[in-house]
Each structure stands twice: as C-alpha cells, then as structure tokens.
C-alpha cells in the first residue's frame, strides 16, 4: 500500500521544506504478529524520501535487544524520534490517518529544536523532579487526537525527564483495556493520572505537574 502518492507527496514535501536540523526516525518492527509493522515502514520510508534532513533507521524488535534497550521501547511497531539527542518522542502503532499530522509535527519540532511551548509551561516542567511517562491513546479516525499527542510530544522535547508515547489503541488492545480506554484521546501519566479529551496546554501541563 502506497501511502504517499502524487499530490500528497508534493504537499508533504512542502510541509518538510522548513526543516533545519537533522532528524532520525528509529523504527522497530517485527516479522510476526504485527498488523501494521509493514505499513509503518512504508510510511516512514515515504516520508524520509521527501527530505534529506530525515533519515530512517530500522531495527528488528525481536532480534536487536541492545537497541531496544537503548530506546526502551516495549512493543512494535515503535518509532523513536531523535534529533541532536533522543527526544523522548515515541509512536506506538502506525502514525497514519489523523496521526500523520502528529508525525510531521514531531519531525518539525525536533528538527527546529523548539517545542513551541509557552514560557510559563517551560518554567513549570523545569520543576519536575521525577521521570514522567505520558501515554496518549488514540485512534486513527479521531480528529481531536493529534492535539493531545503533539502536546505530549512537545513536553517530551522540552524536558529530558519526559517520555511521551502516542499509542494507537486498536493495535494494542490489551494496553487499551488495561487503562480502560473507551474514549479517545485518553491520556495516562505515570500510570495513575488519567484524563480524557484534548485539553488546552495549561490544563495538560497542570496534570503533568501532579506527577512530581
């Protein structure tokens, strides 16, 4: 299945024109029991081919334990977004549908090296004293979801102590069921803090700060 053809390709290329720094997409796939590993690879290959600033590095989730450990990913397909260093931005499941926008946003902010968060949010997350793990559960047909995904990713880029995952709920039903995901976007922070909906930045950050 070709994701990016003709018109689409041109438009994505335009979106990627403003990139400054290099971005590495580290993709983990496995040969078996992975519905969308192939699609994830094809999608990223397509995106990487449109800009010389983007490189794609593929790994076998089952066979390359050292890299899996390095990026601390625990299922496939997984994507880690790396700029001058690991950003903590993760995608679990294929970032297609509405989430394609989140992928482009993650690439763009990593390349520029600026989360775009408000000064107030930046100051707040500096006060975090514990590692924070944000999981944003989404489905590909949800138009509100990229807002929540990108908000998590901005925070991950801003703070070395934050890792933020997009989790495509229907690809990881056990995880979705573990956190009782019955509406998306659903955000889970350090297991305990949970909320639904794409909250505005100050409210989202407020929830994150409860983790400290």
């Amino acid at each position: 299945m070709a994701f990016l053809k003709g018109d689409t390709k041109g438009q994505v290329q335009k979106e990627l024109e403003g990139l400054s720094g290099k971005v590495k997409l580290v993709l983990f796939t496995q040969k078996q029991d992975c519905q969308y590993c192939r699609e994830s690879r094809m999608l990223l290959e397509g995106v990487a081919s449109l800009s010389d600033k983007i490189t794609l590095e593929g790994h076998d989730f089952k066979g390359e334990a050292n890299v899996v450990q390095e990026y601390k990913v625990d299922r496939a397909p997984a994507i880690a977004v790396v700029g001058t260093k690991d950003t903590g931005i993760r995608f679990y499941g294929v970032p297609a549908g509405h989430e394609f926008v989140s992928l482009l946003d993650a690439i763009r902010m990593t390349s520029v090296g600026d989360s775009g968060l408000s000064q107030q949010s930046r100051e707040l997350v500096k006060q975090l004293t514990v590692p924070v793990h944000i999981q944003v559960f989404i489905t590909l047909g949800c138009p509100y979801c990229p807002k929540a995904v990108t908000m998590g990713h901005k925070l991950a880029l801003e703070s070395d102590g934050i890792v933020s995952d997009m989790v495509e709920a229907s690809e990881f039903p056990q995880l979705a069921s573990k956190y009782n995901v019955f509406a998306v976007p659903k955000v889970v922070i350090n297991e305990k803090i949970q909320f639904e909906g794409a909250l505005p930045e100050p409210n989202f950050v407020q929830h994150v700060m409860k983790a400290k």
Partner: protein, 329 residues
C-alpha cells in the same frame, strides 16, 4: 480489528494567518463559525472585497466528524476531512482574517457596531455579523449517562468505534448520523443495536436498507432510552417501548449517542429571536430579527441540516450582509 482503509490525513492548509485579528478596528463583517456555512460565507464576502474577520473554535465543525460523504455535489464520495481541506484551500486564496481557537460567548450592540466577546477575553467590532455557529450533539439526558462518559458512552463514533472491537454496542438514534455510526460499527463490533424513538428509522432509505439487511443488527423503533447501566463502565441500557409500554435491558458495553443536535445559539440568545427549539429565526435572506445580524446553517431555522444546504446558506448570508452594508452606508 480493522481500521478500514489506512491512509493519511494531510496537515491543514495554512489559512492566511499573517493577518491577525485586530481589537482596535471596526470590521465590515464578523463571521462566527468555521463549518461549511461560515467558510462559504468567508469566500463570498472576501470576493465582495469586504473586510472580514472569521472567529471560530475549529475549522470544519461537525463535518470533521463525518466519515464518508456521498451527497455533496461534485464529489461522488469524499471524507469529511478531505472536503474541509478543500474548503480551506479555497478560502486560503481570499483576503480574510481567520482567528481559530476563538469562541464567541456573546454579541452586543454598541452604537452603530456589533461587538463579539470571546471566551478568551477579546472583543471584536463589526458593522455586520453572520452567526454560523452550528450545533452540537444532543445528550440522552438519562440517569447514568454523565457518569459513564468515556466509560462506554460516546458522542464520537469515528473516534471511539475501534475501541469496541468484538463487543456489543447500541446506537441511539436512527437518523443519518446514527445509521452511519451503525454502519461503521458493524465492521468492528460483535452485535449492534439501533434504538430509535421514531416509529420507523428516519434516515435515508439507502442507509436504512443497508442497516436492516445486516444480520448482526437488531433494531428497536418507537423506544426511548431510560437509563445507562453500569458503575465503572457501561454494562447495558434500559429501553422502554412507547407502544407496549414494556421495558427491556440491552446488554451492551458501548452506547453511541446520535440523537440529533442542539443549536449553538446561546451566544445570540440575548440579541436575536430564537425559535422554540432555540434555533435562530431567519428569513429567506438569512436575516435575523436584528438588522445587520445574519445567520446561516445548522444554528438557524433553515429546514434540513445538510452540508450542501449550510454552504448555500453561508453564501446567501454573505451576500445579504453585503447588500445591507451598501444600502445602509
């Protein structure tokens, strides 16, 4: 657990955002709302070289929550997002100021201008206003609903349907949006109940037939939902037949509320006349009870809420506003 066709939704077309909304000036027209009515009004007004500010929470409105559209002329089949992307592209070629994430809370009159106050604390002035704020989902308004939102009660089928793979679900509402939700759910869920208060399903026959012919669908007409059951998550709904006055419980884990809509007319309730259903009363020229304020699309008394109708109404409202400006200045 199919997501249907996997493709990508492209990023928004950039609207001409270099133009920033200006609190200090008096616009010729403020358009409130970024759905089909508001966007079309924007194109028409900009082509008349009116000085226009469009204030909206988001671009696309309810259309963004619509899967396949097969009745918008010019496109045999198009998704809601694609259609809006094309609307936006068309608007992006026009001279117009668009302020997103802006929710107008009220409108007042101040001398010869109208003032729109936003939730974000800004106020903008204009000589004419078009209200195209659309409508929102009507809740069930029964016990259990509020407690179980996000725990099985959903108002967004395109968002949440994939989370109910292999489960039993109910769709409340037999109009087009309910039937479209049911058709989406058939591919994912185990069993789909469709519950309608009408004596027969009121949606388009082409959709009704599709739903009726699916063996995994059970249809309950002339029935009202009495309660959503469950503590931590939905375990069922209690429905009551209007005819037989008997109750039964449908064991479902998901309830998709597609019971029609409420107009987003609160912002205008103190200034223009509303109908009993809280819709803004308009005439054939989209004129409200207040000269200079126009309204278009789903927030109004226009019969039938359809994308193509809202787009047409938006065009009409813009031309009416233009004519009003010419004749009053």
């Amino acid at each position: 657990m199919s997501q249907g066709n996997i493709g990508v939704v492209l990023p928004d077309y950039q609207l001409a955002t270099e133009r920033v909304a200006d609190e200090g000036k008096v616009y010729e027209l403020i358009i409130i709302g970024g759905g089909p009515a508001g966007l079309t009004a924007g194109v028409y007004a900009a082509r008349k070289r009116m000085d226009v500010l469009l204030l909206t929470q988001d671009i696309g409105g309810q259309v963004m929550l619509t899967g396949e559209i097969e009745n918008y002329m010019g496109y045999e089949r198009i998704t809601g997002e694609e259609l809006i992307a094309r609307f936006k592209e068309q608007l992006s070629h026009q001279e117009i100021t668009v302020q997103e994430e802006s929710r107008v809370a009220s409108i007042t009159r101040g001398g010869k201008v109208f003032i729109a106050y936003t939730d974000e604390g800004y106020s903008y002035r204009a000589r004419t206003v078009i209200i195209a704020s659309g409508k929102r989902s009507r809740p069930l308004d029964v016990p259990g609903e509020e407690r179980l939102v996000g725990r099985g009660v959903s108002y967004c089928a395109v968002c949440d349907a994939p989370l109910f793979a292999g489960r039993d679900v109910a769709v409340v509402g037999g109009g087009n949006s309910g039937l479209t939700a049911a058709i989406d759910l058939i591919k994912i869920a185990n069993k789909v109940y469709v519950v309608s208060a009408h004596s027969s399903l009121p949606g388009d026959p082409v959709l009704v037939e599709q739903v009726e012919q699916t063996p995994q669908v059970d249809i309950f007409v002339f029935c009202d939902v009495q309660e959503v059951l469950g503590r931590e998550r939905v375990t069922g709904i209690r429905i009551r037949s209007r005819q037989e006055e008997e109750e039964r419980t449908l064991p479902v884990q998901g309830v998709f509320v597609e019971k029609g809509f409420l107009p987003n007319s609160e912002l205008a309730q103190d200034i223009v006349k509303l109908s009993e259903d809280h819709e803004i009363i308009i005439d054939l020229g989209c004129r409200t009870s207040v000269p200079g304020i126009f309204a278009a699309g789903d927030v109004t008394t226009v019969p039938e809420k359809q994308i193509i109708i809202s787009a047409g109404e938006g065009a009409k409202a813009a031309l009416s506003a233009y004519n009003y400006l010419i004749t009053t200045s």
